[in-house]
């Protein structure tokens, strides 16, 4: 069909008209672009006003316009407005092109002639481009009501419960034998000092018993196919060697198990467990897992004590159990896989692992945990002597060019909590070596005050070294903390019995791979990138994938819970919509022209591109495609086309901008 284009130039009051000869531009377009299909060109005070829109709608109806160019403000402001206007007049909204002669011309230029000339060029570009526009229909896909939550820490628990309580099904996948995450390892929580277990375990139990929650611990997500609304998730349920149907979690098996194992995970190496075990008393689910690495039976074929003593009927120990592969349909996914603790051995001068009485924050958490190896007695490695003096080193691995530049946000409060607990339980002298104290949130500053009043020492300075080399008698048999006190500006050597390294938080070691699995990316420091740092912190660039808790960045419990709930709210919103409409800016492959060279196959971060070995051609899944156009630009055969930003459209716009097609007869370059 022949192009019938309407050009509408907006004055925007004086915003545009003040610098651009709007009338002149419109007349120019009507005259010099006539042969390019411009049948009408108008200028109007405010195109975006209802009157302005009516103007366009009227022309579409009466002049039978099949394309519209609006020269006004940025499309980010009013593209929707004018597309809607076109739609109202029965014209496909994507037949409308906006030219930003306000943000890009009148507001940034002063020379009227130059500005007017540029406006003309840009309109010519818009006209040439719109000639190649084609009607597009948004893609709508149904939303499956079930949700996958990955990670059973406090954030994941919160999300799962919110959604389940709203009456929708949730699959909660946890890598460890029990949910609870890091929070379950803590003793007290700052600033209120209420016991972590007391507030966490009820939630864990709820999850374990919730009719809308399918809990899969000791399990990992292996594969994610599909797109927002209908993901197909494949989960590997690792063999527990325990029949969860019959097991009551009575505990006789781990009582009888002869094999002691140092628990490096939950107890952070401070305590032991058996070869068959539950990580901690309040574990959910309550049934144990058998640790093949250490089990005597799996080592040399004998023992089976657990099976022998199992009281249940049928016997709940199944030593031939194999991994299970489960697949499930979900509409949305929440990633709450948490964080790893910074490995303190990476800073050798702090002596962790070399100097016995240097502890990490997590070790200390277990140490002072009533349910921990020492029932909460704070002692040195010998497990009996209480320390008389303790140094707490802040920002270990955080705010440090050599390790992580970012602030882990929780360490300050954590350290203050430690300081309080040490003083409260041992009366020992406590030295906090800090860079800054960051006590930003509700009641935090007060807690800082409190610890100061309790007599904790605060030395503002980054600890240089921790050694056991005494220079003076007072240092004999002590750990010496070498630190510059920047407030008094001198070096200090502080002899102490115990040092606690307040280690920072790091992205999970496998964050990148997991991200690839779900089609989301990590930022520079390795935390998952949110859709918008302020306005959309729990969504990601991939539709239907949300993030909550520390995966998005270091944060404390309240913040994690808040994000867990927020992510849940976003998911519920989607479920309520029943279906989502996807932008019709999409890439697709012309199969006859595709040579199967596979250049494009590795280019899509959203896994939208797949290769068919049988036909030796590549295919793009329109629902997964986000429309960036990278593969379109990459295809060596020109076999991939992109809607909305096609080669033809861009090439034509270039010619237009260069005024190559301005009439009466085209001007040759």
């Amino acid at each position: 069909m022949s192009e019938k284009i309407g050009v509408y130039v907006c004055h925007c009051g004086t915003n545009i008209a003040g610098t651009v000869d709007v009338k002149g531009v419109a007349e120019w377009a009507a005259d010099r672009l006539k042969h390019r299909g411009v049948v009408i060109a108008r200028d109007y005070k405010f195109m975006c006003s209802s009157l302005g829109q009516e103007l366009i709608e009227k022309d579409i109806k009466e002049l039978g316009l099949n394309r519209v160019v609006v020269a006004a403000c940025s499309p980010h402001l009013h593209e929707k407005t004018f597309r809607t206007a076109c739609a109202n007049a029965g014209l496909n909204p994507f037949m409308c092109e906006m030219v930003s002669i306000r943000e890009q011309v009148s507001w940034v230029h002063t020379d009227k002639d130059a500005a007017t000339a540029k406006a003309k060029a840009m309109i010519s570009g818009g006209v040439e481009r719109v000639r190649h526009h084609e009607p597009l229909e948004p893609l709508t896909v149904p939303i499956h009501p079930a949700t996958l939550v990955v990670g059973g820490g406090i954030a994941g628990i919160q999300s799962a419960l919110e959604i389940a309580d709203a009456g929708h099904h949730v699959y909660l996948v946890e890598r460890e034998p029990s949910i609870g995450g890091h929070m379950a390892q803590f003793d007290k929580t700052f600033p209120t000092l209420d016991c972590s277990a007391c507030i966490l375990t009820p939630k864990m139990v709820q999850v374990g018993t919730h009719p809308n929650i399918t809990l899969m611990t000791w399990s990992e997500v292996e594969k994610v196919d599909g797109y927002v609304g209908n993901f197909t998730v494949t989960v590997r349920k690792k063999a527990r060697y325990v029949n969860t149907e019959s097991c009551t979690g009575c505990g006789i098996c781990w009582e009888k198990c002869p094999k002691k194992v140092v628990d490096t995970v939950f107890e952070a190496g401070m305590g032991n467990r058996k070869a068959i075990y539950t990580p901690f008393a309040q574990a959910v689910p309550r049934y144990p897992v058998l640790d093949v690495e250490n089990c005597t039976y799996f080592k040399n074929g004998k023992c089976k004590a657990c099976q022998l003593f199992c009281p249940t009927e049928p016997n709940s120990i199944n030593l031939d159990q194999a991994d299970e592969i489960l697949t499930m349909q979900v509409g949305n996914i929440i990633l709450a896989t948490g964080y790893d603790l910074f490995d303190a051995t990476r800073i050798p001068q702090y002596g962790y692992g070399r100097l016995g009485n240097v502890f990490t924050s997590l070790e200390f958490e277990r140490l002072c945990n009533a349910a921990g190896p020492t029932e909460g007695r704070i002692v040195l490695r010998d497990m009996k002597t209480a320390p008389k003096s303790v140094a707490i080193v802040h920002c270990v691995g955080s705010r440090d060019e050599n390790y992580n530049k970012y602030c882990s946000t929780i360490c300050c409060m954590q350290s203050l909590k430690f300081a309080h607990l040490v003083m409260e339980r041992t009366g020992a002298e406590v030295f906090n070596c800090y860079i800054d104290i960051r006590a930003a949130f509700k009641d935090y500053e007060e807690f800082y005050k409190r610890v100061l009043e309790e007599g904790g020492h605060f030395i503002r300075g980054k600890v240089a070294e921790i050694s056991d080399v005494a220079r003076i008698p007072e240092e004999q048999g002590k750990l010496v903390v070498q630190v510059e006190d920047t407030l008094i500006g001198k070096q200090r050597r502080i002899p102490v019995d115990m040092v606690i390294l307040s280690a920072g938080l790091e992205p999970r070691a496998d964050a990148k791979e997991v991200g690839k699995l779900f089609g989301i990316a990590c930022g520079a420091s390795g935390w998952y990138t949110e859709k918008h740092p302020k306005l959309d912190p729990v969504a990601t660039m991939t539709e239907g994938i949300f993030i909550a808790g520390c995966v998005q960045g270091p944060k404390d419990i309240p913040a994690s819970v808040a994000q867990g709930a927020a992510a849940a709210a976003r998911v519920l919103g989607k479920i309520e919509q029943k279906e989502v409409a996807l932008e019709p800016i999409r890439a697709s492959v012309i199969e006859d022209q595709c040579s199967g060279c596979r250049i494009c196959n590795g280019l899509c971060p959203f896994n939208a591109i797949s290769f068919h070995e049988d036909r030796m051609v590549t295919e793009i899944n329109p629902a997964l495609c986000q429309g960036c156009g990278t593969c379109v630009a990459a295809c060596p055969a020109g076999a991939i086309v992109g809607t909305g930003f096609s080669n033809e459209q861009v090439m034509a716009q270039i010619e237009g901008l260069m005024l190559l097609n301005v009439g009466p007869e085209p001007v040759a370059a």
């Binding site: 060279c597 596979r598 020109g638």
Partner: protein, 332 residues
């Protein structure tokens, strides 16, 4: 062709190497078909005819002209215009006519340097710095030679072209197929493709016909063909050898990759592609396995001659047609 029952056929070479003629001769018996169905009025390599004969013909009286060779001098242009006038169907035949071919690389420089370099080689005895002149007075009188154009042009850059037949040279089996088609059209058994079509080639690219196995590509380094013992069954590009196959129009049965050599791109761009080199630049760069500028540079150093690599056959036919020196009118 009014008074003549058989339609007239012509084939001509401008600045070319003659390979296109050889390729046509290599269709062997097909030549006889041409002779049977056409009145061959003009074909320098094969038969006797004069320029004046052609000039004397009615406009449009030649049904089909296969034109090979590029526009290197003003004579080439002159004859292109003449044959356009005399021919109903003008086919740009072979790489030179369709996209400029190897001689198009001359467009990277100032055309005057062509002469300058040729007349200053190590063996050239040229103390007085003499260069060929379009007009020269010998004792007996003036003699002339044609003027070299500032840039070598493709046929369509000089005259309107009806069809394009790529290849350096076009494969004989493709030529035979086209001859068959034209004969069928003459017998009313087939339709001519739409004007402007590329004939005698596929719509996809060389990979489509290449038997080597392919995987997702990620290039850590580019290799020179002689520098490694290339694996004979795996995609050359995946082995770091810059093979132009992915961007080069199919139709040759992937001859070079099959023979262990990288595709050098003689069949030109694929269907609908505007700029051949751009496709290669974009695709090669896309699969470079690095996000670090310095490493990217290190990897790209492996491509010793990007322009030559990407525009070996296609420079004259590309969007930019030539390098900056060729555009400069005046020398300082």
């Amino acid at each position: 062709m009014s008074d003549n029952p058989k339609p007239k056929f012509a084939m001509y070479w401008a600045a070319s190497c003659g390979g296109c003629e050889i390729a046509v001769l290599n269709t062997h018996e097909k030549i006889l078909d041409v002779d049977a169905n056409f009145d061959v009025v003009f074909w320098p390599v094969a038969m006797d005819a004069k320029y004046k004969d052609v000039e004397a013909m009615e406009d449009g009286s030649i049904l089909l002209t296969l034109f090979n060779g590029g526009m290197r001098n003003d004579e080439n242009e002159h004859i292109a215009r003449l044959l356009r006038k005399k021919s109903k169907i003008l086919v740009a035949f072979g790489s030179c006519a369709t996209e400029g071919c190897i001689p198009g690389l001359a467009n990277l420089g100032d055309s005057r340097e062509i002469v300058h370099t040729a007349f200053n080689t190590v063996t050239t005895e040229n103390p007085h710095k003499l260069y060929p002149m379009t007009s020269y007075d010998v004792p007996e009188g003036e003699i002339r030679i044609p003027a070299i154009l500032p840039i070598l042009k493709t046929l369509e850059q000089v005259v309107d072209v009806d069809y394009y037949m790529p290849g350096c040279p076009p494969e004989s089996h493709q030529i035979a197929a086209v001859i068959d088609l034209v004969i069928q059209v003459l017998q009313g058994k087939a339709q001519l493709p739409p004007k402007g079509s590329v004939i005698g080639a596929g719509d996809s690219t060389v990979c489509d016909e290449c038997k080597r196995t392919r995987n997702i590509k990620s290039i850590k380094s580019f290799e020179r063909i002689w520098a490694i013992a290339a694996e004979p069954t795996v995609c050359l590009l995946e082995q770091g050898i810059p093979c132009n196959g992915p961007a080069t129009r199919s139709g040759c049965n992937a001859r070079c990759p099959t023979a262990g050599a990288q595709c050098i791109g003689c069949y030109g761009p694929a269907q609908g592609v505007v700029d051949y080199g751009a496709r290669l630049i974009s695709s090669f760069a896309s699969v470079i396995d690095s996000n670090d500028p310095t490493e990217i540079d290190r990897i790209l150093d492996g491509l010793v001659d990007p322009v030559g690599q990407f525009y070996r056959f296609n420079l004259a036919g590309s969007l930019l047609k030539a390098g900056v020196p060729a555009w400069k009118k005046e020398k300082v």
